[in-house]
Assembly symmetry: C2
């Protein structure tokens, strides 16, 4: 392995070089060391390290600052390394999620000497595991000033289209209770599993909202993700639990989403197991408008939840913009088309001047 | 511990003595040894041993033979030994399930020198565990001639009332399939858990039959006993399984019961996981009529499944008749009223002459 990466060279080769350094969550030291050394070669950048996160920024006194963020870790390798370039598509673990985006950021860090906005680059660890380990969360707690700016661009794959804001997500357990009995005398009991029929009926007839915000269409969703109940093969069950995941447009707060579910499942015990706020697209902000113009296309709504919401919670506009198809993330077949890597570099270079 | 039990003495004391010998399924050797030694003292009886089952019979040349059967094992002790007699009720593990019935059988074996019918006593092991280990099944395979007779009386608890025949039981898995998708784009998938809503609707509106056979009313039942499905908190599930237990009156064969469920759950995958035939009450048989008359009351339908069905499958009428409330079986609080133990002895002595 070279001592440093050639950041100024071809961003596709840079992507392949990053992909070929395995960096499953928790095992990012090698890639973080390499990224740190490579960034320290860029004398215009102030570089700091936090665990296996590496942060770098310009200090040019610009009136505005843009934060670009990407995680360095991947899901476990699935017999899909080293990388393989075939017909203009780079295959391998981490190509789309998200070393293509990391390469775009690193390349820009080395080749944008006079940006119109001051720039902060955030490469972080442990995005693919439980939220409490997320490196961006640690940076936010330990050095929050490094995340401040007028716009955050999370370079996770978005098909090289600006995806604005993100939807919130809330999971609840809907619990039905009954009375146990032997099935030979079932009428002496109350079947909690049968009682879930009514809950499923409400799910079936539910009409999810479609919400237009700043020209972005958010499609909400309400899906049962787990169902469990049962005591023994000859016992009327006295408890059954349906876990439901609701994705909600960012015009609603987590509290509003919870209230909505409690109304919908009225008559049942509802327990919130986890919730994450969405993020408004924030497209009215001038810096965001510049990015959208540079991308040459209308932004679309981000439906999944991403770390964009962490930046939104800091009060900044935040968008997703990165190469590759996000639905390939976490699959063995993940890949990134190289022309999208190049397109992201071009759009961001145009935006950053 | 005495070398033998005092079979001819008080059947309530005999019950307590049996209860105070722990005999959880698989650990019946001690109690089987004692029962065997005690029966061998009865010189009129032919005694054989099969594993931890003990069988004894008269060979008096009577034109008819009555088989009495009881299992020696119990469910695991639950801090409810030794036995405790309080206000005419004997408490402890195995009191109602079914050492009260075993004591009735043992007492009769020692105190009925001239029965009107030849008698066979079957004490067996491993009734409380998986059917393949059931000692009565082993006896049936290895020495089936020992189970032949004109009437079988299983002395499991029936509140000292003749319970005739038994219902059949069948368990099926009803499977719904869908298409996985990320919940952020739920409309790209098909939710298998939601599809169970229709199955639960059919269960809710199902009207179980009530069937009168020989004056016994059988109440059928159809109950979900387990539900399971789910992949991850953010994935639309592609499979969900509902396990349903159907208890069916003995006018239907297992094949008819299965066909009924396949019609009911038309449109879903239905897999039979286990089935046991019921047993017709067989009350038209003269020997059975004699027992009912001796018991002085109208027989009632047995709703649960018991080893009565094993005898019925051999082509014999078979009934349940034993002391205690069967709904207390397998509970920590299990107990047997001593007057029911005495009543069972009286009824059977009257019947056997």
């Amino acid at each position: 392995m070279a001592d440093t990466l050639h950041l100024a060279a071809d961003p596709v080769e840079l992507t392949a070089a990053l992909v070929d350094i395995p960096s499953v969550s928790g095992d990012e030291q090698r890639i973080a060391d390499l990224v740190e050394r490579s960034l320290r070669e860029q004398t215009a950048l102030e570089v700091v390290r936090s665990g296996n996160a590496v942060l770098a920024r310009t200090n040019l006194g610009r009136p505005t600052r843009v934060v670009l963020a990407g995680h360095l870790d991947t899901v476990p390798v699935n017999d899909n390394l080293p990388s393989r370039l075939e017909d203009g598509v780079l295959h391998g673990c981490g190509t789309v999620d998200m070393k293509g985006g990391d390469a775009v950021m690193l390349h820009l860090a080395a080749t944008t000497p006079e940006p119109r906005h001051d720039l902060t680059f955030v490469f972080y660890d442990c995005e693919e595991v439980e939220a409490v380990r997320n490196g961006l969360g640690r940076v936010e707690r330990e050095m929050p000033e490094w995340l401040r700016g007028d716009l955050a661009i999370v370079c996770e794959s978005s098909n090289a289209v600006v995806e604005a804001g993100c939807q919130g997500t809330i999971r609840v357990e809907v619990r039905a209770r009954g009375v146990r009995a032997h099935t030979a005398r079932g009428w002496m009991g109350v079947n909690a599993v049968h009682a879930l029929g009514e809950v499923l009926r409400r799910l079936e007839t539910y009409e999810p909202r479609r919400v237009d915000i700043d020209g972005c269409l958010y499609r909400e969703g309400l899906q049962a993700v787990r169902v469990a109940g049962g005591v023994a093969g000859n016992v009327v069950p006295d408890e059954a639990v349906l876990t439901v995941n609701h994705r909600f447009a960012p015009d609603r707060s987590p509290e509003q989403a919870e209230r909505h579910l409690r109304e919908l499942f009225d008559g049942y015990e509802v327990t919130v197991t986890d919730v994450s706020a969405g993020a408004l697209p924030g497209l009215a902000h001038p810096v965001t408008r510049e990015l959208v113009e540079a991308s040459g296309g209308a932004p679309v709504a981000k439906l999944g939840w991403t770390d964009v919401a962490r930046f939104a919670a800091l009060g900044m506009p935040a968008v997703n913009f990165g190469p590759g198809d996000p639905t390939l993330a976490h699959t063995k077949q993940e890949n990134v088309p190289v022309n999208q890597v190049r397109r992201c570099v071009e759009v961001l270079r145009r935006f950053l001047g």
